[in-house]
């Protein structure tokens, strides 16, 4: 549900009207609007942002590991509308066991490499991604370095 305090924000209200079940929560802090979206609704929410909100650019996709909390991962999407000069952050939480979310490449082509990076460094799987393989680490690498339980130093045994 969209918090009462965010009803005055056009993007939040329009998304809440179009996809009422998609918004988990939201906040406006440091001058930035963040909406948390149900993970199975993320592609519809992005498409709504692109068509209705004129968010023509996907600025970036990244993830945050909240280990050992559950749901463990946050996938973070930063959208940017050049014509309106505003930015919007969408978020989805994923569980630590078998994290999976739909790929945003159907909406934004530039999602391709960002999702490959998140897949590589966090081990989050993107369904329907056209070319999901490692981008930073070598192809035969084991583990996902940006996970919080991945040590920074030490010998592989």
């Amino acid at each position: 549900m969209l918090p009462e305090s965010l009803q005055s924000y056009e993007d939040a209200a329009s998304l809440a009207a179009a996809l009422p079940l998609s918004i988990v929560t939201g906040k406006h802090a440091f001058g930035e609007l963040t909406l948390e979206i149900e993970s199975d609704q993320i592609v519809s929410a992005l498409r709504h942002g692109k068509t209705t909100g004129k968010y023509m650019r996907l600025s970036s996709i990244t993830a945050v590991d909240r280990y050992p909390a559950e749901p463990r991962f946050e996938v973070v999407y930063h959208l940017h509308s050049i014509s309106r000069n505003v930015r919007l952050r969408l978020k989805s939480r994923l569980s630590g066991t078998n994290p999976e979310i739909d790929s945003a490449t159907a909406v934004y082509l530039s999602a391709n490499w960002y999702e490959r990076e998140v897949f590589d460094l966090f081990g989050i799987n993107f369904r329907n991604h056209p070319d999901l393989r490692r981008i930073m680490m070598p192809e035969d690498w084991e583990g996902h370095p940006l996970r919080k339980d991945y040590p920074k130093t030490g010998q592989r045994v």
Partner: protein, 411 residues
């Protein structure tokens, strides 16, 4: 040029009875890089060719991945400034700047005007530095060697200015959370004035060598064309977008750190080819020189670091005479400062495009997560769109016009 990986068997032009067969592309996969000199670092391109025509170009990045984002999580907030230098090693100050702005927003501290202006001036000098290296190496790739020597001459002077300020030529770490690292050195004003007074005439010299040069025009005009729609869809930002006619610059659209008081133009072109990108960047150099001149003329006086004793180290003499200052000094040096919980996505206009720092704090003295959105990463994604269907020799000109830094995309 590289190793030939696979060659399909030659398709005969004539059939068994001597009749002409329809033309079949003879597909060849050519590996270019990661040690190829014109890929400016360690970019690897997998090119699929038909003769000299590029059917597909697949960039392969990650050869310079150093785990900087992981490293951030084990440094204190102020220590992490040194990591930002190493991301985009041609515009270190833009990275220092963006990181410092992001953390300052989380901390809610106000930066005094003198430090803001000084930051703007140094970031613009670093834009000049970056554009000079780009122009020098890009023209060298295409065959104009003298421009390279001219550009390095001015770049050397900028690096000496950085050295004067911070003691370092490249890894400056001069813009810190809460202001600047050190008081500006004695004689900085005269040094930069001397440089910036002659700089516009140096840009004229580069233009004399290239702008109307027939070989340069022949190699760059109509090469590497992309539409604005494609660029937006593929995540391209910065001078490439402006060379396509989209007038968008974060310094104007979302002014930060006193950019709103400076008078400068955002150059644009419409051709969206390699030549247009050259024109945009050359004009940006002139505009950056204008900003630096204005900063020199109107530099406000006052403090060069914020009045935030829990974040900024106290002056040396205060530390030795006042107890509070000594306590703050001890706290900051031993455990660093705590940053309130929250997340920000700070954008600045780096010489290559939109540079973003997404910083998550959990309220401790170390960053919980720092994500760096380097403009080169987005720009490189468009490689295939730009070179598909062009000649192999134009690939060099096209990727050169992107002005990527692999440290910026691989992190």
């Amino acid at each position: 040029m590289g190793d030939v990986l696979t060659v399909n068997p030659v398709v005969p032009a004539e059939g068994e009875n001597g009749e002409a067969l329809p033309y079949q592309p003879r597909r060849m996969v050519l590996n270019m890089g990661p040690q190829h000199p014109s890929t400016h670092g360690v970019l690897r391109l997998k090119l699929e060719l038909d003769g000299e025509t590029v059917l597909k170009a697949e960039p392969d990045i990650g050869y310079l991945h150093t785990g900087i984002e992981k490293e951030f999580e084990s440094k204190t907030w102020q220590q992490a400034v040194t990591l930002t230098d190493r991301i985009d090693y041609l515009s270190n100050l833009a990275n220092n700047f963006c990181y410092a702005l992001a953390v300052e927003r989380l901390l809610g501290i106000e930066i005094p005007p003198m430090a803001q202006w000084m930051r703007v001036m140094l970031v613009e000098l670093s834009r000049l530095n970056s554009h000079l290296v780009w122009l020098g190496t890009h023209s060298l790739d295409i065959g104009a060697m003298s421009t390279f020597l001219y550009c390095m001459r001015e770049r050397e002077e900028i690096l000496k200015i950085f050295e004067m300020f911070s003691g370092q030529r490249m890894m400056t770490s001069y813009i810190r959370i809460g202001g600047l690292a050190l008081e500006p050195p004695r004689g900085w004003h005269a040094r930069i004035s001397k440089f910036i007074r002659t700089f516009p005439s140096k840009v004229d010299e580069y233009e004399d060598l290239l702008t109307n040069n027939r070989i340069w025009i022949g190699r760059t005009r109509g090469v590497g064309v992309m539409t604005v729609e494609d660029m937006l869809e593929l995540g391209v930002t910065g001078p490439m977008l402006r060379a396509g006619g989209l007038k968008y610059d974060n310094r104007k659209e979302n002014p930060h750190s006193s950019y709103e008081v400076f008078d400068f133009e955002i150059p644009t072109q419409t051709a969206s080819d390699v030549y247009a990108r050259y024109q945009v960047r050359v004009e940006e150099m002139r505009q950056s020189a204008r900003i630096v001149s204005q900063a020199l003329a109107g530099m406000p006086g006052g403090a060069w670091k914020a009045d935030a004793p829990h974040v900024v180290l106290p002056d040396r003499d205060k530390m030795k005479t006042e107890m509070e200052a000594l306590i703050y000094h001890f706290k900051i040096v031993t455990e660093g400062f705590r940053v309130p919980e929250g997340e920000v996505y700070q954008i600045v206009e780096s010489p290559r495009g939109e540079l973003g720092y997404y910083i998550v704090s959990d309220g401790t003295s170390k960053p919980y997560r720092v994500f760096v959105h380097g403009p080169s990463f987005g720009n490189l994604q468009a490689t295939n769109c730009m070179v598909q269907g062009t000649m192999l020799a134009d690939v060099i000109a096209s990727i050169g016009s992107m002005d990527f830094v692999l440290g910026d995309s691989d992190r």
